[in-house]
Structure formats: C-alpha cells, structure tokens
C-alpha cells in the first residue's frame, strides 16, 4: 500500500499554490508540516480530489486516481473546523459514509462499526446527541470517527487539532497516534506546529511556499534541516537567525571564532534553549544586548534581546524570572549548537554534530 504524489503543480490567477510536489506516503502517519499558506491544505485537497492539479498525478495503491470522482474515491477528510452534519445525530454522522458507500453493509454491521470507532475515540455516550450539543473537542472526535469508520485507503487530517485548546490537543494527538499506529491506511496529517511533527516522530514532509522543502524522519529534519525554511518549520520557539556581520560587530570573540572556524559570511542559527545566561565554558560565544521583553511561560522565561541593528534573539531561561526591560545583558551561545546558513538562498552550510 502506498500513496504516491508525483510532480503536482497548481497555479491560479498567476499565483503558485503548488510547485512540483512529489512524495511517497506509506501506511501509517505522514506529517505535512509548514507555516500557514505553505500549500498544505491545497495539497490535501488535491489528494482528496477536490481540486484538480494542473499537472502531476496521485497514485493510490498503484492506481492513478486522477480520473476518479471524489465520491468514488476511498478517502476521508477531517477539516480544521469541526465539520459534521448538524441535522444528524452523532451515530448517524459516523454511519453516514457507510450508508452511502457502494458495497452495502447490513444495519448490524454498520452499528458494530460505529460503536467500534466511537469506543476508540471515547464518544460512545455521545452517540445519541446532535453535534451542536458537543464541545469543540468532541465535535472533532466525531469528525475523526467518521473518517475512521469508512476504513478508506487514505485519511487526510488537515490541522485537525488547530482549533482546540492546548490540553485537548495533546490528549487527542496521543490518541490519534495510538489509533492510527496499527491502522492499515495512509494517514496524511498536516500541522503548522513543529512540536506536533516531532511528537508524532514519523515520516515528515516540510512544505514552504508550495514546495516540498525536505522529506524525512521528524528528528532528522529537526537536527539537519536542508535550509532556513525547514529549520524554521521544525523549530518552536523559532530558531534565532543572526547575520554573521552583526555577530562580529557585536562580539569580537564571536567574530574571531566564526572567521577562524567557518570563514566568510553566513547566517547564524541557534535555538533559544542553546543560549545561556552564564558561560558554560571557554568555548561559549558571548553576545551583548538589551532586554526588550521577557515572556514568562511558567516553566521557563523567554527573553527577547535587542542586539542592535534591529536584530533580536530569543533565549530560553529556566523557571519564572524577572528581567528589567532595557537592561544590558551578556548571553552565551553554545558553540556546538550553532547552525550556519548561506545568506543567499538559505541553504544549510553546517549543522551541529549532535542534537541538543
């Protein structure tokens, strides 16, 4: 079983939505990650057959599905908005694709199937209710249950957890992983959140501006991004980017280190948790700046540091701490965690040997 997208391109009114997208998805979860407007939803809609691409093909289990109409495809789709049929009960919502599909199922078989998926998604006691009487999380559970009940070859989940609050999101994500782990279907899961991709720890495709930037294991993409967009898409909080000229001007020690070790101009990238307030050793690179904002998240504090020249870096400090806005501060970059990117084109020049 496989889903193969080949050279899919789509432009509309001179705007490029998809640019030569190719990838292969095996049974299990494939995560599509990328910022908003990166083409994830458009790609999902092409995979579902809701829009026809200008060029390229989608092959599911060896069959080119390009000519098959949406309603005859073995595919299900879950939207970011909780889409259910408001006039039907939860039971009928989940049963509806089974009732209209070609191979007819008996009443008992449908009820069995509905109860099975309802149990999986823990909505058994809600089956008699109308979707409007449910909370957002429950509504999305119903939508996911409906997509599961059908046992289609391809399940498309378009940012299914984006409209849920943080706690629900984590809980449902764990459940989804468990449910889809042994399901024999190709699940394409799109998200704008790097942490979701890392948490899923499966095959991940990074999209940006309608292109597939990189394709691989989530952790590999995190550790060795091909370019800046991939590094950004896989980092939350965002990766700090500092031009090497500014770094040199700011800190002589950094300047000399950079020149000696890597030579030439490049964009330096470092994750907020690899910057410390205290020097961890002689190898650290010092940077000077002024505190702009400090955001306290509870377990840690994010300090935005003004480096001058309108460049800012963010560092993560453990615990809730108070910082005076405008005060000068010296921070230390862990040299072994530095990324280097080509300032033209953003390709990765060097990456840390080990993820930290």
């Amino acid at each position: 079983m496989s889903l193969i997208a080949k050279n899919i391109s789509l432009t509309h009114n001179g705007e490029t939505f998809l640019d030569d997208v190719s990838f292969t998805a095996a049974p299990g979860i494939t995560v599509l990650v990328g910022p908003t407007l990166s083409g994830k939803t458009t790609l999902m809609r092409v995979l579902a057959g809701l829009i026809k691409p200008e060029s390229g093909s989608v092959t599911v289990n060896g069959v080119d599905v390009g000519a098959i109409s949406v309603k005859d495809r073995s595919v299900s789709f879950v939207y970011q908005q909780f889409i259910n049929y408001p006039s039907l009960s939860v039971f009928d919502n989940i049963a509806s694709p089974l009732r209209v599909q070609k191979e007819k199922l008996s009443k008992e078989a449908i009820a069995d199937r509905v109860n099975e998926v309802a149990k999986m998604l823990r909505i058994t006691e809600l089956l008699d209710r109308k979707p409007s009487a449910l909370s957002g999380g429950q509504q999305q559970r119903v939508a996911i249950a409906r997509s599961l009940a059908r046992r289609s070859d391809v399940v498309l989940l378009d940012e299914p957890l984006a409209n849920l609050d943080f706690k629900l999101r984590e809980q449902l994500r764990d459940e989804l992983q468990r449910i889809f782990a042994d399901a024999n279907m190709m699940v394409i899961y799109s998200t704008a959140e790097p942490l979701e991709a890392l948490d899923m720890a499966s095959h991940t495709i990074v999209m940006n501006e309608g292109r597939v930037e990189q394709d691989g294991e989530a952790l590999d993409l995190y550790a060795r991004p091909k370019n800046i967009p991939v590094a950004q898409a896989m980092s939350d909080p965002p990766l700090n980017l500092i031009s090497s000229t500014l770094a040199t001007a700011n800190s002589e020690s950094l300047g000399s280190v950079l020149r000696d070790k890597f030579g030439g101009a490049f964009t330096l990238g470092i994750r907020p948790h690899n910057i410390a307030l205290k020097s961890q050793g002689a190898q650290d690179i010092a940077l000077n700046g002024k505190v702009r904002i400090a955001e306290i998240t509870g377990s840690s504090t994010y300090v935005h540091l003004d480096l001058g020249d309108s460049e800012t870096i963010v560092l993560e400090v453990e615990g809730a701490q108070r910082f005076d806005i405008g005060s000068a501060m010296t921070v230390y970059l862990d040299r072994s965690a530095i990324y280097g990117f080509d300032p033209k084109g953003g390709l990765t020049l060097f990456a840390p040997a080990a993820v930290r």
Binding site: V75, Q81, Y85, S96, R146, L195
Partner: protein
C-alpha cells in the same frame, strides 16, 4: 508549548449587555394596544349588524351577530374566493421554493458566466411595478388557457417570488461552510442525495422563512391576481372589492372577509415564529 499562549487574552471590557429602560413594560403594552386598534375594530365590526355599524359609534357592540361568518362560509362567492387565494398562494410557495433552492445553491457555490449580473437581474424583477406585467400576462394567459386558473395566478406570482426566494435562500446557503458539501462528497454522497438528506435539513429555517414570505406576498397581491382571473379563480381580495350590491354594502360581511384574510398570515407567522428571528440573523432580506 507556543509562547503566545501565555499572553493574557480577553482583557477587561465594558459590559456588552444593553441597558434596560424603566417603564419599558408599560410602554410595550401601550404600543401594542395602539397598534391593535384597527385589528380589534375590524373584529368588532365583523360581529355587529351592518345597520349598527353605520348608525351609531360604540366601542362595545350593543348587538352581536354572526351572520357575517355564516354568510362567508355558506356563500359560494366568498368561501370559493378564499379557497382560490389559499390554493394559488400555496402552489406559488411550493413552486417558488422548489425552483429557488437549486438556483440559490448554484449562486452560492459555483461561479458561472454572468452569475453576478444574473443575480442582480433577478432582483430587478422586483423593482418593476406589477402593473408593467399585467398586459403581457393577460394576453399570454388567454392564449395558452391559463386565464382564470389558480395555477395561472400561482405561476404569475413566481415572477416576483422566485427572485425573493433565491435572494433569501442564497444568504442562508452561504452561511453553511462549503466544507460540509465537500465532506459529503468525500463521504460518498452524490449531489442530489446530499442536497436532500444533509443540506435541506440544515437550511430548514431558511426554507421556512422563504416559504413564509412567498406565501404572504402571493396572499396580499391584488393587481395581477384580479386581472388574470374572472370568476372561477377569483381571489379573496378581489371579492372584497366587489361587495356593493343593490342592497348597499354589507359591512358586516366585508369586515368578516377582512378578519378571515388576516388569519393565514397569523398562522404563517405562528408556524415560522421559531425560525424567523434565527432566519433573519442568518439570511439577508
């Protein structure tokens, strides 16, 4: 965890609730009372003898009679005219809504050549006075044998009710996310099946409101209905204009007809009362 979540959301804002005015209850009932005067007067007239109506002014009738209602029910001209009006209004409502539903869906969901112009053109049909269409209708209906038929009136009224229905329904349909249509298609529904099983129940309040308007406009329309009918399909409103006989005007009977004419409207509002507020919020009129 994304950092933005720690920012304080929903800062203090002044109460959104409207201020309640003193005496509003009293004023409300006063306004209602003033508004109801003509209606109550009409009802009182309908139970007074014709002679009394003309001779003396009194708020509480001194003599009661139900002759008006008896005559209305028993006299051919009256109850037939009433049934005629009911028939063509109902037919018109069914036709208009049935025809407008797919049209409104198309206007809401698809883009096609001239869609915007067509939508506007539909509305312009309502801008012309009904009198403009009298002559063509009269002439055509005589030619095709629709003259003096309730079906003919029902079709003629579609001229202004279909645009209205399309306009209202389009608002309701556009209020339903397109993703619902797509989900249904992905689930395996064909368009007709989706439309009947999923979509119609979703916009039933819109359909209720639309049907209400179609019925009411058809019910109160006089000019076209009177012109393209003579005896067999004469509407109640036309009958009411022809009450002068050699014995003078029967005021009691005329008032009774008035009361009876209000009843369908009251019933229609009663049936859609639950939807109507919701309907106006969702759709646009």
């Amino acid at each position: 965890m994304s950092k933005s979540q720690t920012l304080v959301k929903g800062a203090f804002s002044p109460q959104k609730k409207k201020r309640s005015l003193p005496w509003s209850g009293t004023i409300f009932w006063l306004v209602i009372a003033i508004w109801m005067v003509p209606v109550v007067w009409l009802i009182l007239m309908s139970v007074r003898p014709s002679v009394d109506i003309l001779s003396n002014f009194e708020v509480i009738p001194s003599r009661f009679t139900f002759d008006g209602y008896r005559d209305f029910i028993l006299k051919d001209m009256w109850y037939k005219a009433y049934l005629n009006s009911l028939t063509y209004s109902t037919l018109n409502t069914i036709f208009s809504v049935t025809l407008a539903l797919p049209a409104a869906y198309a206007f809401s969901r698809f883009s096609f050549t001239g869609d915007k112009h067509l939508f506007f053109w539909l509305l312009t049909n309502r801008m012309a006075p009904a009198a403009v269409f009298l002559l063509p209708f009269y002439n055509m209906y005589n030619a095709v044998g629709l003259f003096d038929k309730t079906l003919g009136v029902a079709i003629a009224h579609m001229l202004f009710n279909v645009p209205l229905a399309v306009w209202i329904l389009e608002g309701f349909i556009s209020g339903i996310p397109r993703q619902v249509d797509e989900t249904a298609a992905i689930d395996g529904y064909s368009l007709p099946k989706f439309f009947i099983k999923i979509f119609l129940p979703m916009i039933r309040s819109g359909i209720g409101v639309t049907a209400f308007f179609c019925f009411m406009f058809s019910w109160v329309e006089l000019l076209i209905a009177r012109t393209i009918t003579s005896t067999d399909a004469k509407p109640i409103s036309a009958a009411m204009t022809r009450t002068v006989s050699s014995a003078g005007t029967d005021w009691t009977l005329l008032s009774t007809a008035g009361v009876m004419t209000i009843i369908p409207g009251v019933l229609a509002i009663w049936f859609v009362r639950k939807y109507i507020a919701k309907g106006f919020a969702l759709g646009r009129v």
